[in-house]
Amino acid sequence: MLETETLQITGDPMLPQRYAVRHVTKETPDTFSLSLEPEDEVNGMAFKPGQFSMLWVFGVGELPISISGDPANHGRLVYTVRSVGNATHAFVSRKVGDTVGVRGPFGTGWPMESARGRDIVVVAGGIGLAPLRPVIYEVLNHRQDYGRLVLLYGARSPRDVLYRKELAAWARQAETQVLTTVDYGGLSWHGRVGVVTTLFKYARLQPARSVAMACGPEIMMRFVTRELETQGLKREDIYVSMERNMKCAVGFCGHCQYGPHFICKDGPVFRYDRIQPLLEKYEL
């Protein structure tokens, strides 16, 4: 049985399709969400939660960015991008009406199929919440198909918390628990302070029934997966999303190799038991 599902892409995977920017949301001082719609005839772009696109800004370069929108919304693609360098800065500076190039979707997605009927534990760190947001949408769109939903989210500081309104809305859903924490408290933050693993003691988990999906900086995923195991989850029920340098996204350039895996083809979502030994290897 395939634990991580893929989807065939439409069109030539090497050529960008033209998408227009329809909406720009400033999530935090350095992070923006851009909502895109196709400019040309194309059957929208259906994607599975966890997949990513290659986004091209004219003359600047291409970025591998996870799709962070609602998979049920076939007309739009949403990306949450943090501005850390030239290419990301160019992308988040696009205005409504500008065109960007989009290739994809690429990669394996989160195991939504095999997680049916089970509790979903989502653990996100920083911008890692963006590739996981489609999971939450999917679960809330098909509530009967899944058990409880638990979201544990750690951000750097209060002003780095993403999707605040949505977090509050999700917390109000039935059978849903949303716990947020920050590493640095700040002056007016009345929420939790502490690293994301401190949230586990407040989470109402049923480990035997749970499938966990974690995304964030690699160090964070290492200690989160350890904590998930301490909580009683089996390695085969834990999934992580990995990241490496990516140039082509179609398995030809060789850059994204992680041990024997190509993160663009065999990932970015991996079942934890499959890559656990790799996570411990320095400079792999």
Binding site: G97, R244, K281, E283
Partner: protein, 387 residues
């Protein structure tokens, strides 16, 4: 031990023939007449390289190569053998998987743009003359990666589909060759349109020719050829066997994946890292290395952009760079990545070894690192390497 298991092509059963040196010249002309650009070995810059040739006169008759770790010299032969050498610094990926190729271009139109699907195309299909067993195996390895996996690379695919291959059976080996232990040679068994075995002694200079495809057989039928005798076949077999016997290096592939995966922290990696310059020569000369990078460029006006694909190497720091730094910062991690990928991970990814035993990486390494020696050292637990 066999490291490769290729698909068995249905060999075209045609009677082997024998042609002379003149007919070899006609073979080249016939290919040109058919519209191919003939690429063959030729002497340039003190090496035997692959380049465009117009006639068989340009082949390196009377030359041989002397190879050793970090050493390559051309020497004059006493005879006029046309294929009396092993392989040079280049491989056929120079043509099938070009080092520099435009993928597409784009024109800006205000806030939007137009993409033009205008990748570079060669003017004429290629005919490769002089493909050795190891290089044939390497082409098959790259086929598996670039056109037989999840996605198909159209640049490699279109060039590959149209290329005519004339293989040459090796009758001598260089000191750095180890194709016999990799199961990729010296005998080239399949994947060619024609194969030549040079038979040269005091009395005669001929080539035993086998057809490996319909179009190969068709071309052969146009040449002045005599039927091959049992004696020709015997002489060819002996000569190719001699090339195998001549090889002094070998790579033991037994349990190679477990060996390399489990020895991630073996002290030998520190030993080789002290010698490796991360110059990337090995990846440039290796016939199976396929890694590339993409470069987005625009002109001064900012109205016109292009995307280019260039060869890249896992030995560069940039190769593994993600926000904040390179994952493989040390030379040790990069050498280990290259060798482990080539010999072990490739098996998990594509079902065969990535190495074909051509020995180029040994010859062209400026400090003479020998991949067969590195495997031996890890297998035997030793940490002392080449000084």
């Amino acid at each position: 031990m066999q490291a490769h298991g290729f698909e068995v092509y249905r060999l075209v059963e045609k009677t082997p023939k024998v042609i002379d040196v003149g007919a070899l010249g006609s073979l080249v002309k016939a290919l040109i007449v058919r519209g191919y650009e003939v690429i063959g070995p030729t002497v340039r810059d003190n090496a035997i390289v692959f380049d465009h040739i117009e006639s068989s006169e340009e082949l390196p008759a009377g030359w041989t190569d002397e190879q050793a770790p970090g050493h390559y010299r051309l020497k004059r032969r006493k005879d006029k053998a046309i294929f009396g050498y092993a392989v040079g610094p280049q491989s056929w990926k120079k043509y099938l998987h070009p080092a520099d190729v435009k993928l597409w271009s784009a024109e800006r139109q205000g806030g939007t743009f137009r993409i033009l699907n205008n990748e570079s195309q060669p003017k004429r299909p290629y005919a490769f003359l002089g493909v050795r067993g190891c290089d044939l195996a390497a082409i098959a390895v790259q086929d598996r990666v670039l056109i037989k996996d999840k996605y198909r690379d159209p640049i490699y695919g279109s060039r590959r589909d149209s290329t005519f291959i004339v293989a040459v059976q090796c009758t001598q080996a260089a000191a750095t060759c180890f194709c016999a232990s990799m199961g990729t040679g010296p005998q080239a068994k399949q994947g060619f349109d024609l194969s030549l075995t040079e038979l040269l002694d005091d009395n005669r200079h001929v080539f035993l020719v086998h057809a490996g495809s319909e179009r190969g057989a068709a071309l052969l039928s146009e040449l002045e050829a005599a039927p091959a005798t049992k004696e020709h076949l015997q002489q060819a077999e002996t000569a190719v066997e001699a090339a195998a016997q001549q090889q002094v290096r070998n790579l033991d592939n037994t349990g190679i994946t477990e060996l390399l995966y489990q020895n991630f922290e073996h002290p030998r990696w520190d030993n080789v890292a002290a010698r490796c310059l991360t110059c990337a020569n090995c990846t440039m000369v290796c016939p199976t290395c396929f890694c590339t990078t993409v470069e987005d460029v625009s002109d001064v006006s900012g109205e016109h952009a292009e995307r280019w694909r260039r060869w890249d190497s896992c030995f560069t720091l940039n190769f593994s760079y993600i926000h904040g730094g390179s994952v493989r910062a040390s030379a040790k991690s990069r050498y280990r990545q290259w060798m482990t990928h080539k010999l072990a991970a490739w098996l998990d990814q594509f079902g065969t070894s990535g190495c074909v035993g051509c020995g180029r990486c040994i010859t062209w390494c400026p400090v003479g690192i020998d991949i067969t020696e590195e495997v031996r050292a890890i297998r035997e637990g030793g940490i002392n390497g080449n000084p």
